[in-house]
Amino acid sequence: MPATLFEKIWKAHSIRRLPNGQEQLFIGLHLIHEVTTPQAFDMLHARGLGVAMPERTIATVDHIVPTLDQRRPFLDVMAEDMLSALERNCRAHGIRLLNIDSGQQGIVHVIGPELGLTQPGMTIACGDSHTSTHGAFGAVAFGIGTSQVRDVLASQCLAMEPLKVRRISVQGRLGRGIYAKDVILEIIRRLGVKGGAGYAYEYAGDAVARMSMDERMTICNMSIEGGARVGYVNPDETTFAYLRGRPFAPQGDAFERATAWWASMASDAGASYDDEVVLKAGEIRPTVTWGINPGQSVAVDEALPANADPEALTFMGFRAGQRVQGTKIDVAFVGSCTNARLSDLREAARVIRGQHVARHVKALVVPGSQAVRAAAEREGLDRVFLDAGFEWRSAGCSMCLAMNPDRLDGREICASSSNRNFKGRQGSPTGRTLLMSPAMVAAAAVAGEVVDVREFAPAEVTVGR
């Protein structure tokens, strides 16, 4: 019987039905980081348990790392404590830690793919809601809490309930200057921030098929912002080409054999879905959030809805009927697991090359990983940003969630390529976040206000794909 990728992966990883009716699911790859694991290891130790499969567990440090001065010990004692705890736990249990001095450190959802750890057909869990990112490779990947991290450490399994599958087809060509970020913001706006509850999102359609892996990762990354714990794209030639030669991917003949299995895990043509949604790519415009959740967005040249949520309007200082375009910004942030890969930095650099950040704006670029940073420097992107007045930082989560020195101050407004515009998300309880694509952030940094990147740099935006 034809099946979806979700159903195939679920079936291949299911151990048994538990007495309470949940299913025990094997986890192929467990990614861990410093924030959601110390308590999990403590619980494990308190019960006298070990780590079942340390070889299927990989650690890095990302949330708390300072992006300016990374010398140890960190100036922030609590941050140092957290990394020390991770180092201690990884050493005690034989878990590979991609640490600050490894050259492979970075945001967990950036390094998994770039090292080839993330592969089609896998189940992947991590104590971070943006684990959905890895679904771009045709994996079933989801965020978990700390008690569940304990469970995966102890057993390499989780107790779960299966999800329904909604296929979201993006059909036709994206317009000039429209990025993957605009597509996912539009999907969330259309289906709502809780529309995905109970579902895995399968992103399909010719527009998604033409996307690079970086773009697919941006889309899958924000599935959780639409309430879907899992988002994925079926693996195809683009996926396989990306993985070929990556350090943790199968090598040589093994790669060819792996490809055959990976391809077999893709959704079958006749698979049935619990729900289907179609979006016309040509209707999507550069999208910017105006509110306090990622579903509260408008096209940059569109008026805020007349019935806009009053709490959000008050917090953000907007009025119903006004446009976000022209909003003066204080900070511009290019970074995060959503949009800090090499192609994101390239797109941002293209639209500001030879120009300068507005005098009143603090602008920073935080590469998603040490490898992204090094690759960008080989292309001279660091010079483009530095010459334009951006700060060029070391890899980490930085201002996406401000568990490190990078944060907003007071009611500052930030044009941000990250994923959440929740109240206080960027470190100031009253700080304000406008989510948008990296190209839009870069344009806003130079203009000093929110602009339409298609008008700001008509020759430098992406050509419709």
């Binding site: 151990i15 048994r16 009716g21 957290m82 809601s129 809490g145 401000a402």
Partner: protein, 198 residues
């Protein structure tokens, strides 16, 4: 682990109005910078409370509450277990609302703190009840699947597996997952990427 059955939660309510309340609001990220969950309850809704002096979590009238009453899509956003931990450590033993984010719901199950859902009308009725009678008793009964407040009973909804886990005392999954571990090894060995059979 000792089996702890969760059948009935009885106590006063903590009413919290608002849809889409995310875990960054429940516990701001700066309080995640610690290697234990201790003391998180002191920072529950810290930034919301600072901006809204009348916030129910700051109100001493609700200090002894055991049942939190919320609205739609509660606990969305970040997967941080720190959010249900902070709520639980504040003395709350059940959260009743119109809907919950899946990750928040799962994290709460792992703490033995049920999050049953009710209709929009019922959340309104329960929140109004707790606002008007802060010491009024609310009873969440997972056997009967009813929540009772002020002499009125309303239907609760909870996925069958989660309900069983609470009633049987199997909500702490670690032990279950380690039973008959040879089955896990067998399933793993059949996966080409684990067996590296390519």
């Amino acid at each position: 682990m000792a089996v702890e059955r969760v059948r009935e939660i009885r106590g006063s309510g903590l009413p919290l109005r608002g849809d889409d309340i995310d875990t960054d609001r429940i516990i701001p990220a700066r309080f995640l910078k610690a290697i234990t969950f201790e003391g998180l309850q002191d920072h529950l809704f810290e930034d919301d409370r600072a901006q809204a002096p009348g916030h129910p979590v700051s109100n001493p009238t609700y200090a002894g509450a055991r049942v939190m009453l919320v609205q739609s899509n509660f606990g969305c956003g970040s997967s941080r277990e720190h959010a249900p931990q902070a709520i639980n450590r504040r003395g709350i033993r059940a959260v009743v609302g119109q809907s919950f984010s899946e990750i928040f719901f799962g994290n709460s199950v792992a703490l033995g703190m049920p999050c049953p859902t009710v209709s929009r009308e019922t959340t309104d009725a329960l929140i109004t009840f707790a606002e008007q009678d802060p010491s009024g008793e609310i009873v969440v009964d997972l056997s009967a699947m009813k929540v009772t407040a002020g002499g009125r009973a309303f239907d609760l909804t909870l996925p069958a597996a989660a309900r069983e886990a609470f009633l049987d005392g199997t909500w702490d999954a670690t032990g279950l997952l380690l039973d008959d571990y040879d089955d896990v090894r067998r399933v793993a060995a059949a996966l080409p990427y684990v067996a590296t059979s390519w």
